[in-house]
Amino acid sequence: MAVLIKPESFNPAQLQAAHEADMIAASGIVGHFGATASFIGTMRHFNEGDDVTGMMLEHYPGMTEKELDAVISDARNQWEIHDALIVHRVGDIKPGEPIVLTVVWSAHRAAAFEACRFLMEALKSRAPFWKKETLKDGSHRWVERNTPGY
């Protein structure tokens, strides 16, 4: 189980592969999970009908990590999962860059899919991150709310 807060751009596939390699090495078993579900949230170049050229992601250091750890604990209480990874970007972000990665490894696909989605929804409602967008005309605005996920 791991939570990473990244102030620089990250490669989701690389972090997922590295975590998986560590997990396999730690268990000493090849083939102990059958299902891996992952989600990548990427910065779009538009939002609410406007062109967005950049974004600043603020967070509350300390509380962020605590909430993300709690989100993973909650997932473990609800589903049988082998491992989980949450990576979240902070700081200045450009369109096309990944913002968030959630991955769940499980024996079975239902648990992997459901827990992975749960991680995303839970972090979006609980983890203290805030987005400030830069629009095409150079103006800034705070994103006021998240879109519903279910």
């Binding site: 509350y60 203290p128 991150f129 805030w130 994103v143 006021e144 998240n146």
Partner: protein, 76 residues
């Protein structure tokens, strides 16, 4: 005998000259902390935390606590 106070995101920009510490002997609840830290009225959708955990404005605070105020969360 102090409570540390933090404001994040749009609140950090909107609340002018907030105090970063208030006297814990004057503050019974999180709402009290807001009133001691700033002259602004508390906006309707403000979220708050005590010691890095989500909390309600009516929650009690104690000496040494860290209280934070922030707008709705928009990560992910």
């Amino acid at each position: 005998m102090t409570i540390r106070v933090k404001f994040f995101a749009s609140l950090r920009e909107d609340v002018i000259n907030p105090k970063s510490e208030v006297d814990s002997s004057d503050a019974g609840t999180i709402s009290d902390v807001w009133k001691l830290a700033t002259d602004h009225p508390m906006p309707p959708h403000v979220l708050c935390s005590v010691n890095l955990e989500h909390a309600e404005p009516s929650q009690s605070v104690a000496d040494g606590d860290e209280v934070a105020f922030f707008p709705p969360i928009t990560g992910g």
